[in-house]
Assembly symmetry: C2
């Protein structure tokens, strides 16, 4: 029995075939991925198109969507939005996605002025709770701002809460940011973040593996996390509940050999429970943007962001001098004989120590013996 192939099918156009596969197979359909990888996108698609209905069950589930499929229409919608489709091998294709192996998407639907390959050469995923607190939102914004300032692209999911704060932080620094959507790039979700998502589309990139018109389903949310994890060179979780999508992204990142950071918070805050769980299972504790940058550039120059502390004058003293310092009275002077007893030193060692301490202004000789110098005692 001969089958009439649809007019849009071109057996020589692998790119068009990938576009069709992104429509007929759900994200996470590994059978489809292996089928396409084994035969090539167009040849695999032809087998589905030519299959007698109900002969091969697994192919039937892709055929169910074929009637409504028209890649020319999908590409037309995308073009009107100024978008483009990327397939593996394209100059703009992000190499980090190849780490997904057979879970690599068929293609990416992309909108925005950014160059996906260039942006993901140095990128971090900053993700977290939808039900975030001001603490989490503030930190996500601050860390994303700092990353963007350092030329690190911020990848997130455009969700409420931490995701949105991360995109905002990167945009504030006029830095690169990528929103990976679980729906078509023509129908931003959630709607309440519409303005933000359009700003990302105007300054950075919107990315999705599903074609225009697709709604964000639970399955697509789950598999979207692997794209966020793969596009970031590291993943940082800022607030996450005990069960959360951010934790899935973190475990995807770990599975890909990417560094995972988690921002601690009060143990009394349910919004940080997922972060603490991650810290207990190997995530790196991250408290400052420099520590995020270290995860992304592990071999780069590590910034020393140690808080600048006033050094105590006794910090570098040898232990013997510390003991003499401890023995020195604050007010009434003590003779060297009693200082030797208190400090447990012989006369010669005491004398040389007192000399060093006097030079530092820590000991003061006078009638009746020695006492503390003008430097205040700091405990």
């Amino acid at each position: 029995m001969s089958v009439v192939l649809p007019s849009w099918f071109d057996p020589g156009d692998e790119r068009a075939a990938r576009v069709v596969w992104s429509r007929i197979a759900e994200p996470g359909d590994l059978v489809a991925a292996r089928f396409v990888a084994g035969r090539g996108p167009a040849a695999a698609l032809r087998l589905v198109l030519e299959a007698e209905s109900s002969r091969v069950e697994v192919q039937q589930r892709w055929r169910a969507r074929l009637a409504a499929t028209d890649p020319r229409r999908d590409l037309g919608i995308l073009r009107r939005l100024g978008g483009r489709v990327l397939v593996p091998g394209d100059e703009e294709w992000p190499d980090p996605l190849d780490d997904l192996g057979e879970r690599r998407p068929f293609c990416l639907w992309v909108r925005g002025p950014g160059h996906l390959g260039a942006l993901t050469a140095r990128a971090v995923a900053i993700v977290g709770a939808r039900a975030s607190t001001d603490y989490g939102d503030g930190l996500a914004t601050e860390l994303a701002f700092g990353c963007a300032e350092r030329g690190i692209c911020v990848v997130s999911g455009a969700a409420y809460g931490v995701d949105a704060a991360a995109h905002r932080g990167a945009l504030s620094a006029a830095g690169g940011t990528i929103a990976v959507l679980a729906c078509g790039v023509d129908r931003p979700y959630p709607r309440v973040n519409l303005d933000l998502i359009e700003q990302v589309a105007a300054a950075g990139l919107l990315v999705s593996e599903v074609p225009p018109g697709c709604s964000p389903t639970r399955n697509r949310f789950i598999h979207r996390n692997r794209l966020i994890a793969a596009l970031g060179g590291a993943t940082v979780v800022v607030e996450a509940g005990w069960r959360s999508g951010a934790s899935i992204t973190a475990s995807e990142a770990a599975g890909l050999g990417r560094a995972v950071g988690a921002v601690p918070g009060p143990v009394t805050s349910a919004a940080s429970a997922g972060c603490h769980r991650l810290l207990r299972t190997g995530a790196v504790c991250v408290t400052r943007v420099g520590e995020v940058a270290e995860l992304v550039d592990p071999l780069g120059a590590v910034e020393d962001e140690r808080p600048i502390l006033p050094r105590a004058v006794h910090d570098d003293l040898p232990e013997v001098d510390l003991r003499v310092l401890d023995a020195l009275p604050l007010s009434r002077p003590a003779p060297e004989s009693s200082l030797a007893t208190v400090a447990g030193l012989d006369a010669a060692a005491l004398a040389s120590s007192l000399g060093r301490l006097e030079l530092l202004g820590l000991a003061r000789p006078g009638p009746g013996g020695w006492r503390r110098g003008p430097h205040p005692r700091q405990d």
Copy 2:
């Protein structure tokens, strides 16, 4: 030249010799420790007593204190306080201290009804910032209370802040607690914690390696930390500044092969900076008493303190059913043909999935097709 030995010296009394060594050598004096270890306490002491002054410099530093030394007086003070001296080999001697090797103290000056050996068989050091916040104090009290309830003794340093809160928590649970002091057990420090320290002496134990009358010097504070770390089977830090004694205790514990835990806090709190630093260098993130107990009893039954969360009805659904659930409209019913397209399933797979969902109350058939069941959608 013959030397007159002091009347208190008995060459056969190793215990009395250790008492003298604890007076004439400062904590941390490894030369004294090795000298005593090599010759035995009494023989080593005799060598010091007989040394011609200024002949052997290192012995001179111990001689400096000999004139003021009288072990009978020190022991008398202790007895009047109801205390006792412990030396290695005593039935009450805490074996964990032997892990210190040559840094083991000569003896311990002890006050209180507790049995040091028994208490330290299952103990945790809970230490932290003097400049703690209500958050840190609250957590220290809570964790110590929970440990005491579980029969785990709480070891700390009786300092302001976290230490005091830890002792208070253990006392509230009528549990064992040990305060390791940097001064003599007859002169509690800090004075502001006098009531608390007396409560510890009445219900638990005060412990010091320096004799009665000794003041708390910087050197003694530093070396005191090793005793806290060694007496605890694990060390947990609850709030600590970037530089802190608690961090020293933590690194002593790590050096002894003990587990180290740190309680996270807001990254915006300077009082948690030391804890986050510890988390970045290998400490275990600790948020609940069960996690502290795990550090102390790593092979014991791990308590499952996972927060009890309402399970979403779709948690255990196979992916194919999730896809159908996502495809089901909330209000206007959809025919099976369109559901198959949206979900990407063939007719047979769709029908069996709808059957399962209907049983769970997640799908509802009716005129015109299927829609969501009465269970609300939870995203």
